[in-house]
């Protein structure tokens, strides 16, 4: 299990490749990558987080996923600080013998990360700055697990 919270960019291709090296037993790898959308004239995004709690929350979510599905590995990388349109924000990766387990665990990680990990996004555009509002959808997405 590898969990990183960092201001620096990460290399999605290199991280995916390294994760997929695995142990030769997994068979199925799923990754999710979140990118800053350049819609609406967005000039930059700032992500604030709660140092300490963030790492605890992500470890708890990854631990829950590993308890529910037979995963051989889990990766979570999430950035904070200033990001530009097109920048990678975060990624998760799951490895399992079974494709369904790898898919479900990755979706579970994303659903919980969205609503339970203490990150807040602020968008800067032509009309000024605005904190991104949480979606009701994000909270209801948890109900399926």
């Amino acid at each position: 299990m590898d969990i990183r919270v960092q201001p620096d960019p990460f290399d999605y291709g290199a991280e995916s490749a390294r994760f997929a090296q695995g142990d030769g037993q997994s068979g199925a790898v799923v990754t999710f990558l979140g990118l800053v959308r350049g819609t609406g004239g967005l000039s930059r995004m700032e992500i604030e987080h709660y140092p300490g709690m963030t790492e605890r929350a992500l470890a708890a979510i990854a631990g829950d996923a590993s308890a529910r599905w037979p995963l051989s590995d889990v990766l979570i990388i999430h950035r904070f600080g200033t990001l530009a349109p097109g920048d990678p924000i975060m990624m998760v990766a799951t490895a399992s013998r079974h494709r369904q387990a790898a898919f479900e665990a990755a979706e579970f990680l994303m659903d919980y990360l969205k609503s339970r990990a203490p990150f807040w996004k602020k968008e800067f555009g032509p009309d000024g700055a605005e904190w991104v509002a949480a979606k009701d959808d994000d909270e209801t997405a948890l109900a399926r697990w």
Partner: protein, 82 residues
């Protein structure tokens, strides 16, 4: 003494990221009432508790949770990571 942290627009409204507070409040909700009574910026930040979340010692908690023994309480809007 308890460490109080503010994030995102809660931090911006109150104007500081953290402060140490001497309080006899029994619950998080009691602490919020104390803070609101202090100054308008607190009253503005805590105007609608449904728009806020709270963590006690870095675990999500309810506003009804007791403060006894907690070292750190944090107030923030719903998370928007991912």
């Amino acid at each position: 003494m308890i460490e109080v942290l503010y994030f995102a627009w809660v931090r911006e409204r109150i104007g500081i990221p953290r402060e140490r507070i001497e309080t006899g409040a029994a619950t998080v909700a009691d602490l919020v009432e104390e803070l609101k009574a202090r100054e308008d910026r607190y009253a503005a930040a805590f105007a609608d508790l449904r728009a806020l979340r709270v963590a006690l010692d870095q675990e999500l908690a309810d506003f009804s949770a007791p403060l006894a023994g907690a070292r750190e309480v944090a107030f923030f809007p719903p998370m928007t990571g991912g």
